[in-house]
Symmetry: C2
Subunit: 154 residues, 2 copies
């Protein structure tokens, strides 16, 4: 059941729940530090994101509990005749709440926000190993047209 599900901008107090979800998979567990208290670097990033109107850190809340998150960014661009694009990063749903359609509702809510801002395209990347995620996004209408490449600087 996902009645009573709501989405809102994250507040500082949501950060432990967000980091818990980020850390809770094979890739995330290698790079996050879900500790109490959280490393200060998480809070510093949160403050930066909160101050910037082109960034929205979103949480999904069910029965008072944070059970999903994503980071929505609005990216001005010269290409596509100066078209505004949206980008979505680290979409996560709590493992306890999978298969309730929460991810889809979160992405639909996000698309609506993007439309309201006049965005022409929403983009995201997903690790090549996350085949389930690719199918999930394809069902929502996303097309896997690009190769996502990364250069590690550390």
């Amino acid at each position: 059941m996902s009645d009573g599900l709501l989405f809102r901008t994250a507040v500082r107090e949501d950060l432990p729940s967000i980091v818990r979800m980020l850390a809770d998979d094979d890739l995330g567990s290698q790079r996050e530090k879900y500790e109490d208290p959280l490393p200060e670097s998480y809070y510093a990033a949160f403050e930066q994101i909160s101050r910037d109107l082109n960034h929205q850190l979103i949480v999904a809340v069910l029965e008072g509990k944070v059970i999903g998150t994503l980071h929505l960014m609005f990216l001005p661009s010269i290409s596509f005749q100066g078209g505004l694009r949206a980008q979505v990063e680290y979409v996560r749903v709590d493992k306890q709440c999978r298969n309730l359609g929460i991810g889809s509702r979160m992405m639909e809510w996000t698309s609506e926000k993007a439309r309201e801002r006049g965005v022409h395209v929403i983009q995201l990347t997903s690790h090549l190993s996350r085949k389930d995620a690719h199918r999930f996004y394809e069902k929502l209408g996303f097309k896997g047209s690009h190769l996502g490449m990364k250069l590690d600087l550390k």
Copy 2:
């Protein structure tokens, strides 16, 4: 020869040269409008980008002529312990100036800027059809680890 090559932040007067390069390939020609004067939407996007310290529209200049461009973005993020990432969009080098190593020098210059800001990873996406581009980025150390997906809202 690419001696005398310099990189700098784009100014408004560079915009026609930038749009000309964006329009000058199969994919770009379908979505850009390289006209004189340029559609106002390009200038509106330029103003937004220029005002935002997390965005840098870069041009490469050779003998006084704009012959390359890329859009560098700094993206604050909760993931990777609140690590700052950089993203590069629409890297272009004038067709007349290919195979002079200008693209590599532009990307190296960009990596240096990213390092100075404390970025831990540079990310980009490249259309699956642009095999030459993938090889180019691999030579620079990029790894094609992700699927880039897009949802068209128009």
